[in-house]
């Protein structure tokens, strides 16, 4: 076999692996991309350097978010000044909060407890401590 043939066979194998990775990634993303219909909408507003959460009944929380186990929540995420990113690490919730846009993401808490909410897009002086608490009640 010529050297070029060997190289192409090897590339074929690499392409095969990549198609496999791409296919399972695509399938997983398709599944989590669809928001369930019974989701409760919470408006999330980011600004330098704190988070505001607004429940459907109009109650607002600053710096902490209280949700219940077993319910499904949809976040409408936006920002007032610069770009931030809404991130709940334990639930792999991650979406940019962009001024002038509303981005959507959903999650379903399954264990009670207190979790971290943080900003993951550089937003200036106090970016490092732009955090909030997620309180999941039983």
């Amino acid at each position: 076999m010529s050297h070029t043939t060997i190289e192409w066979l090897y590339v074929g194998a690499v392409v095969g692996v990549l198609i496999w990775v791409g296919a399972i990634a695509w399938d997983a993303e398709r599944l989590i991309g669809e928001t369930p219909e019974d989701a409760i909408t919470i408006k999330v507003t980011a600004q330098q350097w704190f988070w505001t959460f607004e429940h459907p009944d109009g109650t607002k929380e600053i710096g902490e978010l209280t949700v219940k186990v077993g319910k499904v929540y949809k976040f409408d995420v936006t920002a007032k000044d610069v770009i931030h990113a809404f991130n709940i690490p334990v639930h792999a919730v991650m979406i940019d909060a962009v001024p002038g846009r509303i981005n959507h993401i959903w999650f379903a808490p399954d264990q009670p407890g207190e979790y971290l909410i943080q900003c993951r897009e550089y937003c200036g002086l106090l970016h490092y401590q732009m955090r909030a608490t997620l309180i999941v009640e039983a």
Partner: protein
């Protein structure tokens, strides 16, 4: 050829020369000045993160300024000028032409770097090297951000002028005896990155002007308060800087193709597939820019398109790695400093490439996006691969430039400290990302795992720093009083070295 130390010339003769070796030397020396400055910045950042809370830097905005200038410096004042310097030295030699096609333009392109660098360093902006609006419009204090914008414009122009020069030199001034498919792969890599620069950079240049008029308040392209869209900037930015990632990488690939066959004493395994991989990557690199923006709220279709575009670029890099390993396989390998650095670079290239595939897979991207994983990933590529191979090539060019040999023992020490240091810093940063530590933070939540890994990373960074001090000492000492090199074959590999008897510089 310029053998600077053996036959010293007055400084002004080098400074005002337009000869390709002189301009090349200026480029290389400038780039080394900036890797030491940028590296010092990195050590300050790592020292601050060694312990949680306020340690070294009392003001978070100073921390933000330092990482901005560190990033800008390393990309535009280290990787790009070093590439231009080596290409200036070698492209005319390899295609057998007396000089670059436009020697004066070459000199102009170099002399745009010092003013650009001065603007970036004197401004000391805090926008991050990406300068995303609206932060860079609303919150970044002037004149720092304005100086950054103009500094980058000048550096971009320098890079465009240099690219035009390389394209014309390679395509028009090549010796008729060398057909395109016999050119060294290093020349191919420079040709490819020059075309990529010409295709990619204008977009960012336009975006910078728009950003500047937005800052002046006369337009609102990226300002949501005036009806603009900040995401538009990110598209323009990454349309330039995703191809730019490969512009940083491909010269190192070309250098590895230069070194691996020589030090393995075997011909390249498959020259044709090397050329094909370089040219294909030039095209495909323009199809994956928005994977830097997957979390900005893109539609599922957009995400799929850019995942496929990103995955499509992987086989080309895999082809290069395969080619190098197959070339070295069964060869009589001589582990001189250049070869050690190239092999270290290839090992870490594989690691960062595999991490890149993981990043591309969509659901995983949202775990790693904007965390320290990303910092680890691109540093492993830019430091672990590109810079390691650049150091290897510096050792390889050392006899050509100085006519002397470097200290081999110190070069070995430099390699092991750099290699181990890189692993300690950047692999650890990958894991820090999985613990959700965001990037660009002055302080972090000191859970035991995060604390320990930050400390490992800081210690690794200082090992790297000491390695760089050894390197600096070796370069200075050896160019002043190293052993004279045997210029025909300084590395004793039975290969003809570059022609050092070029006509005297004009």
């Amino acid at each position: 050829m310029v053998i600077e130390v053996r036959k010293p010339r007055p400084l002004w003769e080098i400074l005002f020369s337009t000869h390709h070796t002189d301009v090349g030397l200026l480029y290389i020396i400038t780039s080394f000045v900036f890797i030491f400055l940028g590296g010092a910045m990195a050590l300050i950042l790592r020292a601050e993160l060694f312990l949680p809370g306020e340690t070294l830097i009392s003001d978070p905005s100073v921390f933000n300024q330092i990482f901005t200038v560190h990033g800008t410096t390393m990309l535009f004042l280290w990787v790009v000028p070093f590439t231009a310097g080596v290409a200036n030295y070698l492209v005319p030699i390899m295609i057998k032409y007396k000089d670059m096609a436009y020697p004066k333009l070459n000199s102009v392109a170099f002399w745009m770097i010092p003013p650009g660098a001065a603007l970036v360093w004197l401004g000391f902006a805090d926008t991050g090297w990406t300068a995303y609006p609206p932060y860079s419009i609303l919150s970044a204090p002037g004149p720092a951000a304005d100086m950054w914008i103009f500094g980058l414009k000048i550096l971009g122009l320098s890079s465009i002028l240099g690219s035009i020069n390389f394209v014309v030199t390679i395509l028009k001034c090549k010796h008729p005896d060398i057909p395109a498919m016999k050119m060294p792969l290093f020349v191919w890599s420079i040709l490819v990155i020059s075309f990529m620069t010409l295709g990619a950079l204008p977009t960012f240049t336009a975006a910078l002007i728009m950003l500047y008029t937005d800052r002046l308040g006369v337009s609102g392209f990226f300002n949501p308060a005036m009806g603009g869209d900040p995401i538009a900037y990110q598209h323009l930015f990454w349309f330039t800087f995703h191809p730019e990632v490969y512009i940083f990488l491909l010269p190192a690939v070309g250098m590895a193709y230069e070194l691996v066959p020589k030090f393995s004493r075997k011909p390249i395994f498959s020259y044709v597939s090397g050329v094909i991989a370089l040219v294909l990557l030039m095209v495909i690199s323009f199809g994956s820019w928005a994977h830097h923006m997957l979390a900005t709220g893109m539609s599922f279709t957009e995400k799929t398109v850019f995942m496929v575009g990103t995955l499509a670029a992987v086989p080309m890099s895999a082809m290069h790695v395969f080619n190098w390993l197959a070339t070295a396989w069964g060869g009589r390998i001589r582990f001189s400093a250049p070869m050690m650095f190239v092999f270290g670079g290839i090992a870490l290239f594989f690691a960062s490439g595999a991490g890149g595939v993981l990043n591309t897979a969509l659901p995983l991207d949202f775990i790693t996006h904007d965390t320290y994983w990303v910092v680890g990933h691109f540093h492993l590529m830019l430091m672990g691969t590109v810079t390691l191979i650049f150091f290897g090539f510096t050792y390889y060019l050392f006899p050509l430039i100085t006519g002397r040999m470097y200290n081999k023992m110190l070069a070995s020490v430099h390699f092991w400290m750099t290699f181990i240091g890189s692993i300690m810093v950047f692999i650890t940063q990958h894991i820090l990302g999985l613990f959700a530590m965001p990037r660009r933070v002055w302080d972090y939540i000191p859970t035991p795992e995060v604390l320990v890994m930050n400390q490992i990373a800081t210690i690794g960074a200082f090992i790297l720093g000491i390695g760089m001090a050894v390197f600096l000492y070796n370069m200075l000492k050896s160019s002043a009083s190293g052993k004279p090199a045997k210029m025909e074959d300084p590395f004793e590999i039975g290969e003809q070295y570059y022609d050092h008897r070029r006509r005297e510089p004009h």
